[in-house]
């Protein structure tokens, strides 16, 4: 078992090294949600009224509402960034090192997802600290419990991103996928407005948002931050976790794209 531990350690070490060396990646990942928090939310809160909905027990400001969604945004974009890196690695060749190891490929891919999730969690925690000083404050226990939840749900988004990277044939197609996956996934969720608000405007969009895994991820984080637990959401998250991992593993099971590109 020791070799598996060293293997995980190596993958996490490399991801953290890359993260430290690419400081611009860290700041750009933070700027996006901070823009929403500091600027967009000012305009949105004028237009949107928020009723009391679980897990909140009182009226809240719009800034308070969108913080869990913006954490989701960090995780989502970071996952896709990682997926892009993997695609780049695959095109450039370094992905072959991972895929040709004698260690179980699914385990290696899981370690890769875990490593990226650790980076996402560091970014999300940094964002929460900034939001705290901006005035969006929760109980300390909420923050503590949210850390493993962010890590766990980030793995789901990384697994989805990994699956996407496995089906994309060329690096150039990734921008298209970003537009067709990231933006719909983010906007058709409860990240920026509650589902009942969407329902008021469009039943169709509400239905799509209700089935969006990202909605469950955001709500799971939101409930945890406010020390609330919803069993249905939890079980759904577990199901999405298993499904996304399976997709990622199957996507990289019998890779043929390396040779295909050469033909």
């Amino acid at each position: 078992m020791k070799h598996l531990y060293y293997c995980a350690l190596g993958i996490i070490y490399k991801e953290l090294l890359r993260f430290i060396k690419q400081k611009s990646r860290f700041f750009s990942a933070l700027v996006r949600p901070l823009l929403w928090l500091f600027i967009f939310s000012v305009g949105f809160k004028m237009a949107l009224g928020l009723a009391i909905i679980p897990p909140y027990e009182t009226y809240i400001t719009y800034e308070t509402y969108i913080v869990p969604g913006l954490i989701g945004m960090i995780m989502l974009f970071n996952g896709m960034q990682s997926s892009l890196t993997m695609l780049f690695d695959r095109e450039m060749g370094s992905m072959k090192i991972l895929l040709s190891s004698h260690i179980n490929r699914n385990y290696l891919l899981f370690c890769k997802m875990l490593a990226t999730s650790i980076v996402s969690t560091i970014q999300a925690v940094t964002f929460l600290i900034i939001a705290y000083f901006y005035g969006v404050q929760m109980e300390i226990l909420g923050y503590i419990l949210a850390i493993p939840v962010i890590l766990f749900t980030s793995i789901i988004l990384n697994a989805i991103a990994l699956f996407i990277s496995s089906v994309i044939k060329q690096l150039e197609n990734f921008a298209t996928v970003m537009n067709f996956v990231i933006f719909p996934m983010f906007f058709l969720s409860s990240a920026l407005y509650p589902l009942w608000k969407i329902k008021d405007s469009s039943i169709l969009l509400y239905t799509i948002s209700s089935y969006n895994p990202f909605t469950y991820i955001v709500e799971f984080i939101r409930f945890t931050l406010y020390l609330k637990f919803n069993l249905t959401d939890f079980l759904t998250i577990i199901f999405i976790f298993a499904l996304s991992l399976t997709l990622a593993f199957v996507g990289y099971k019998s890779k043929t794209t390396i040779a295909k590109k050469k033909k």
């Binding site: 020791k2 060293y6 190596g10 060749g93 370094s94």
Partner: protein, 239 residues
């Protein structure tokens, strides 16, 4: 005694095209085996099948006596140098080596211990803390070779390992590889399209359009076809 690498009746189809046809190869232990062919002949597809980057569709591959289906055993004692650069340019040599070592289930200490004896031979000791981006092509290739030796392999696979290097760097690498066959008692599969990298006593297989068209010891094949040089023989066989 089992062979270092054995391919039996390997076929590979991409879409409707049969890109490998009935490939049979056997590499003896502690030998230098050259797979020679033009670009697009199927060399890299064979390499990708051995390293599991592609799934085997038909036939069987065994490495050091282990069937590739049991890849956790089969791939454990091989070292690989890919045709494309596979180092992380933003990391140092040491960090790249450690990352690869971890892929083999080794700790940092185990990784560094395993390459101590080769660091000076490859003139890389002074380069350990240099970022790969700052190395020239020859040194990058040496790092990749050093990396392939981390897990003390019994079989070393090198796919066009000298492509893009100048003549001196090419032959430095080739001579190093030939030397370690005896020193480390390993077998080497050297995939190339460069005739001057093949020596008279090398085991060689010539591949054309996905088919092995000749296989044996280089000078015996030359005698068989009454040819004086490999380019002449190759031209004759592949026309």
């Amino acid at each position: 005694m089992s062979s270092a690498l054995k391919l039996d009746n390997v076929y590979y189809k991409y879409n409707k095209d049969l890109v490998l046809k009935n490939i049979n190869l056997e590499i003896k232990k502690s030998s230098f085996f050259v797979l020679l062919g033009l670009n697009g002949a199927g060399k890299s597809t064979i390499f990708a099948l051995i390293t599991r980057l592609l799934s085997l569709q038909e036939g069987s591959i065994s490495i050091n006596g282990f069937n590739l289906k049991d890849y956790q055993k089969a791939l454990k004692n091989i070292g690989i140098v890919f045709q494309e650069p596979t180092l992380d340019l933003d990391l140092t040599v040491k960090q790249n080596l450690y990352y690869y070592g971890s892929m083999q289930g080794l700790s940092f200490k185990q990784t560094m211990n395993s390459i101590q004896s080769e660091l000076d031979k490859l003139e890389l000791r002074e380069k350990l803390d240099v970022t790969v981006r700052d190395l020239n092509g020859g040194h990058r290739r040496r790092v990749e070779i050093l990396r392939a030796l981390i897990n003390d392999p019994k079989l070393l696979l090198l796919d066009e390992a000298t492509v893009g290097l100048d003549v001196k760097a090419r032959f430095d690498i080739l001579n190093y590889i030939r030397d370690i066959i005896k020193e480390r008692n390993i077998s080497v599969l050297w995939i190339t399209h460069l005739f001057d990298e093949v020596e008279a006593n090398d085991d060689i297989a010539i591949i054309k359009n996905g088919r092995i068209i000749e296989n044996g010891v280089m000078n015996e094949i030359m005698t068989k076809y009454e040819k004086d040089s490999l380019p002449e023989l190759f031209k004759d066989l592949t026309k």
